[in-house]
Symmetry: C2
Subunit: 305 residues, 2 copies
């Protein structure tokens, strides 16, 4: 392409469709369909798949089958199946289910945290301490998430210095990676640049993941901005599955298909095959009963002859 | 935002929905609906609207009412209504209809030109000479278009030096602006950067417009790349209307809504109101009978209380 920008040689895709995507679907999805979806994602070459959340079943009924799901996924050394864990009770369920990797969540916004978990950001990080410790003792690796890292639906723009502090505190707890989330999808690349510039001053880029939602169509542009800055881990959802309960009509995570298309055209390796993702997206699109928002999917690209 | 990148203070949006968008719709659209759509676009603050094409009615039946449409649009000093003109016969129709601005088209790809107009690129530019001259003599300003500036569906990647030559030749004919088109929507920002870097070596950025399609979800990222490089004129279509006959399932031009969202968040003025564009998009979406692809539109943003 161009000789100016140096992109990462390889991008690691963390597929979050089964969790971040499906948790927002109104249709009830059968366990067998979730497993088929996840198996197809793995067959496409994805090695990091966030499959569910050990949240209270009443809070997210869509993921109430977390324990059984984990039990029925094929054991493999190639694919890491991860699950979100909101609290100690969820962690005990995750341990019992044999999870090898968990994600723990806080948000940059105090108000967002308070509305969701009834704690402010400081209290939430304090509460994560024993959780992370217990997981690590059990040989479970931990990923941290920071929601609303750019914009809070209640507070508006977030302070990049505060986001950097939270990221540092999560690393201090023992997480090996922090996924920095644009929960509302409202960020634009210039804001991604500013926050990322700050974050790269406090931790190596290899330990950061970007988690962009495509609510306003900015996710690919934000991804490209992060790639330019050397970020090599991105969360995405097959088909662009999902949505944000706080933004009506919002589309979900950046589509895995779009991420693949971009990486492919930039000569960046992912180890993931578009035809395999299409195979998974076509299936889950039929299950949820709607056209998934991925543009690449709509073109028919990746259809096997 | 960030202090590093200097964006243009103002972006000029050239709305191409009524032409590039509607020409690809399968439903027949009534003249009155086209006029309502265009009037709403103008009311939203758009000052450059490409309303139709004086192409042979048999070739694009959707735009067979070009003459009548121009005759029925309100005369105004604020809004420039432009029309595409493929040949001398079309120009005579345009002159008769009282058009004040036309667009003339060629493509970077010889094969693409040959398939569409039965001439190679060289022959096509030669043929445009008398056309542009006749228009200018009539006091009609002329915009040039270069289709397939990055990727040709038949030939593949295009040579940026060849694109630069074509742009220079169009300026030499007397056009005041060249719209550089990613017809298939296949370009990624690194390719936009490389070609634009070359183009900015042969002409001032103020005389270039970018015309991105969102087939693979790259249009906003490509727009941002061009903004970073100082480009301040962008073609877009309300709602993301349109499509490309060469890419099945493809979405259309970058949505005017997404362009507005991006500019607004970057502090760039456009003079265009999102609520006004929504008013136009909601209308034309009902007329064409489908959900338009704009993400911003889907969120409900710009809905007036």
């Amino acid at each position: 392409m161009t000789g100016v920008t140096k992109f990462p040689a390889r991008v690691r895709i963390v597929e979050v469709g089964p969790r971040d995507g499906l948790q927002n679907e109104s249709a009830t999805i059968a366990l067998a369909d979730k497993i088929t979806f996840i198996e197809r994602l793995a067959a496409a070459g994805l090695q990091d798949i966030e499959v569910t959340s050990f949240v209270h079943p009443k809070r997210v009924p869509q993921l109430a089958d977390a324990d059984e799901l984990l039990g029925r996924l094929p054991r493999t050394d190639v694919v890491r199946y991860a699950a979100l864990v909101p609290n100690m009770r969820g962690l005990e369920r995750a341990i019992k289910a044999g999870v090898s990797r968990i994600g723990v969540l806080t948000a940059a916004s105090d108000t967002f945290n308070r509305k969701n978990i009834n704690m402010n950001t400081r209290e939430s990080i304090t509460a994560l301490g024993p959780l992370v410790q217990r997981a690590l003792e059990q040989g479970i690796s931990v990923r941290g998430y920071v929601s609303t890292s750019w914009i809070c639906p209640y507070e508006g723009p977030m302070d990049k210095h505060k986001v950097a502090e939270i990221v540092q505190e999560l690393f201090a707890l023992g997480v090996d990676e922090v996924s920095v989330g644009d929960t509302t999808g409202g960020a634009v690349p210039a804001q991604v640049e500013a926050t990322l510039d700050r974050l790269l001053g406090v931790c190596p880029g290899e330990r950061l993941a970007m988690h962009f939602h495509d609510t306003y169509g900015m996710a690919v542009a934000n991804t490209y901005q992060a790639l330019r800055m050397g970020i090599s881990t991105f969360d995405s959802a097959a088909g662009g599955l999902g949505g944000c309960p706080y933004a009506p009509g919002a589309s979900g995570n950046v589509a895995t298909e779009e991420l693949l298309y971009l990486c492919d055209r930039l000569g960046i390796e992912t180890g993931v095959r578009l035809s395999g993702i299409r195979h998974a997206s076509d299936f889950i699109g039929r299950v949820v009963g709607r056209t998934l928002p991925s543009r690449v999917l709509a073109t028919g690209a990746g259809t096997e002859a």
